[in-house]
Each structure stands twice: as C-alpha cells, then as structure tokens.
Amino acid sequence: MNRVFRRTYSYWFLMPAAVIYFVIFLLPTVMSFFFSFTRWTLADWEFIGLDNFVMFFQEQSLRIGFQNTLIYAVVTCGLKVILGLLLGVLLTSRLRTRNYLRSVIFFPTLISTIAVGIAFSMMMHPTQGIINTALGWAGLPGLDWLGDTRVALLSIALVDVWKGVGFATVIYIAGILSIPPDYYEALQIDGGGAWHKFWNIIVPLSRPATNSVIILSFIGGLRSFDLVWAMTQGGPGFTTDVIASIIYKQYQGGFYGLATAGNVILFVIVTVLAFPLYRYLNKREVDL
C-alpha cells in the first residue's frame, strides 16, 4: 500500500507550482542577500560590503522611510482593529439594513488602489477639494491634506483605512458569529447589559479575529506601496516615503544594489516584527 500511496500522492503534482515558486520567489529572495552587498547593474556586480546599508541609515531621505513605514503600519493597523470591531458588532446585531451596510463597507476592498488614491487626492485638494469645502461649511479650517508635511502620511493612512476596513469588518463578523450563543444566555440570566456583552464576551471571544486583523493589516501596512505612490509619490520632498517607495525610486535611478538593500531591510523588519507578533498572538489565544 505504501508504494501505491506514494504513487497516488506523487510529489510530481507539486512540482510545477513548486518550481515556479522556487525560481520566481524563493531564489530571488535568497539572492537578494548577496546582491544587497554589491554595486549592481544586472550584467555586472562589484562587491562593496555594507556600503548600501550604511547609506540607508545615514542618508536622511532614505532613513525617513523606516519611521514612515512603522507609523503607517501602526496607524492603519490600529484603526482597522478598532473600526473593524465596532462595525463588526454593529453588523451582527439585528439591523434590517445589515446586508446593505456590509456590502457598501466591503466594496472599496475590490476597487483598484490606484483609482482610490487618485480620487481621494482630488477630494483632498487644498483649495477646491470637497473635504475642505465641507469643513468650510461647518466653520472649520481646512487642511492641506497631502501638501502639509505634518499630516500627509496620516492622510494616506486614512485612505488606506477607508479602503481596507471592509476586510477587517468581515473577519470580525465571522469571528463574532462563531461565539457560542450560550454566553449570551448566561449573560442574560446574570442580568448583564449591552456594555458587558461587548466588553466581557465579544471582545475576548473574538480574539482569533483580532489576531488575524492585526497580522494581516500590519504586514500589509509594512509592505504598502500602491497607495503612497498614487497619492504623493513620497512627497512633499521625502516626507511620505515608505521603504517600498524608496525601493522603487532607487530602482528607477539604476541603483540596483541599493534598491535590493532596501528589500533586505524590509524583509528583516517584517521578519523581526511579524513572526514574533504572530507567535505572541497565537500564544495568547491558547492561554485564553
């Protein structure tokens, strides 16, 4: 039977996908560690040691990428968790408009990021944009959403949340619906109110959903490129550059070694932050 077993579930079935995955994804990932130590022109390379990395940490226009990437990931992740949880609670309650609300909130997930970025940069136009016009009606001063160096990155992060909160919400909906109804019954017998239901049942028991949302949106935030590129291209100056946009700029400039060093740094940041986070969150889940 063992021979039959091995023939029936032959690793040949895995081969085509594995070869593509290895050649196009794993091999370049491994090679990036080597090429990040070189000055590189695809045809030719010269070993220059740690110069690329030193450059990344010394040059102000490159270093800002770290800070921005982290801020962006933390802000988008935090807002998606909070808003996703609240919307998830709202959309699992007995609202008649529930299905309508779910669809509308989810739809932006499917629109092209470039389209969303362009549309929002129009709405955030400092003098003509509808956001500032609306603020003006309310008697509030408008902001130069994408031109002011203090708020530009946060403006992009808000658009990211607008586009991605629907995804966080559907994960929370699935998580909240998988809570056994016994808990609600017990709460009713004990006479707990809506706040108790939220804080003592829904929040702790939708923990797996929270973990998924944190992991997915945090990693997504660290890797984000499209939206930043569509809205500001890293500007004004370098103030909204994230690591992914710096990689693209260095690539365009022909600094392939430097761009690859950027990739390695992003790799290290994601590994150092995401893997332990993943393990920590999974452990908390078991302790519960």
Binding site: L42, A115, Q128, Q188
Partner: protein, 296 residues
Amino acid sequence: MSTIKSSEHIAGHAKSGSTPLGRRMGRLGLELLGILFTIIVFWIPFYFIIVNALKSTQESADLSLALPSTYHLWENIMTVVQARNYMLLRAFWNSSVLTIVSVLALVILCGMAGYVMQRRRDRLTPTLDLLILVGLIIPPAIVPTIWVLDGMGLFKTMPGLILVEVALNFPFCVLLYKGFMAAIPREIDEAAVIDGCGGFRLFFNIILPLLQPVSATVIVLCAVTIFNDFANPLYFLPGSANVTVQTTLYNFKSQYVTQWNLLFTNILLITIPPLLLFLFFNKRIVAGMTAGSVKG
C-alpha cells in the same frame, strides 16, 4: 456560509426576547445612523467619481459635487478610449490575458499542490508548510526577480509577468485548497485506487471536480487581485506596448492633469470588471477572504 447563517440566527434570538418601544426606537436610530454614515463616507466618494466623469473638462475643473449642466459621458469615454492610439483597449486586452491565464494556471497548479500537500504527511511537510508561510509574509525581492526573469529571457514579457503572479499568489491559494481538501474523505481516494485509478486520473477526474467550490473562490479572489495589481506590472512589464489597465490609469494621471473628467472616466471604466464580480460573487468573495485569513 450556511453554518454561519444559522448561528447568526440563534445569536440574534438570544440577544433580546422582547423589544419594548424604547429599544425599537433606539434600533431605528442606529439604522438611520448607519445609513447616514455610509452616505457620507462611501457614497459621496463614489458619487464624486461618477458625477465628474459625466462633466465637460471646464466643469470638472471645479472638482465639485454639483450636477453637470450638460452630460458628456459618451464623449469622455470615446476620448479616453482613443487616447494615445487606443492605449486603453490594449491595456484591457493585456489585463484580460494576464488575469485569465494566471488564474487558470493558479487553479490547476495550486489544486494539484494542495491535493498532494494535504494527503501526504511526511518528513517534508513541516518544511513545505514553513515555505508557504514565508511566502504569505515576506515581500518579494524586486530587482533579483528582474535578474532571474532577465536570465530566462522573460523580463518585460507577458509570460514573465504571468509567472510572477502565479508565484506570488501561490501561497494563499494553496492554503485555501489544502483547507478544502481536508473535508474530502479519503475513502473516495481509496475506492478510486482500488478500482484501478492512478494518481493522475484520481486528481483530474474525481478530486478536481469536487474542489469546484474552492476553485470558484480562488478564481474570483485572484481575478480581482491580479486585475487590480499595479506594482508587479510596473516593475516586470514596463513600456507603452505592454500597458495594463492600472499602469494606464497611472500614466493618464500625469497626462490629464487639467482634464479631470477624462481621468474620472478612466477610473469608472476600469472599475466595471471588479464591480460585476462583486455583484455576482459578493458572498463567495467574503467567504473566501475570511476562510483564507482565519486559517492562514
């Protein structure tokens, strides 16, 4: 999906036995608040794009929500389609080829891979699982990928970009297939093997048809992801002969700095395919995304 539905029903009943008038009013208020929220946060941006795609160049320069005095939608569509020697049509053709071929390859290849990886548990299993997890988390190394593609003569070609899309979507799809395979009883395989089926016939004649629900999920999710992909075509398929819809939109952004109506028309046109998928497969998309994320 059906199990979720039923537990939702139970949870709903457990929450409130009777509904006094005050609570009913509160719920009505909550519903109105919800609708108001979606109008301000979601419908106004959608409306903004649509109404500005209808306008003349002059009127769209205001970037306002006002209705157009005259409607120019058809004219705008024709201008956008004809721009740069029918670039948008080429882009739609390229994006369609990219999406369809990549998705077909993903369904077949990841189906086969998921089939073996779920059924066969041996020494290699932990390594394979780790490699898949790595692919879900680690960002791809861009320039080394270009170097590899260049070495194979596939850089700046459609087959090269298709390989990239297959490689990058493989981890997520194979997880979905593995998850679904676990629900197909092994007895089916055993019966087929006893009847003289080899692995190849077992997979293509028996397993693949049974995987149909998860294949549908993979098709819809990957189609949306790949059609909307911007970064990979930007890196691996540059050049004006090879445009995709997303890179075209990005190029038009700098070309139409003074003709925003045309930019919005372009946005409107490229949002139609995802909108159609959304209207027909909303449930499946949501189910697939949550299944993939909760297991992954």
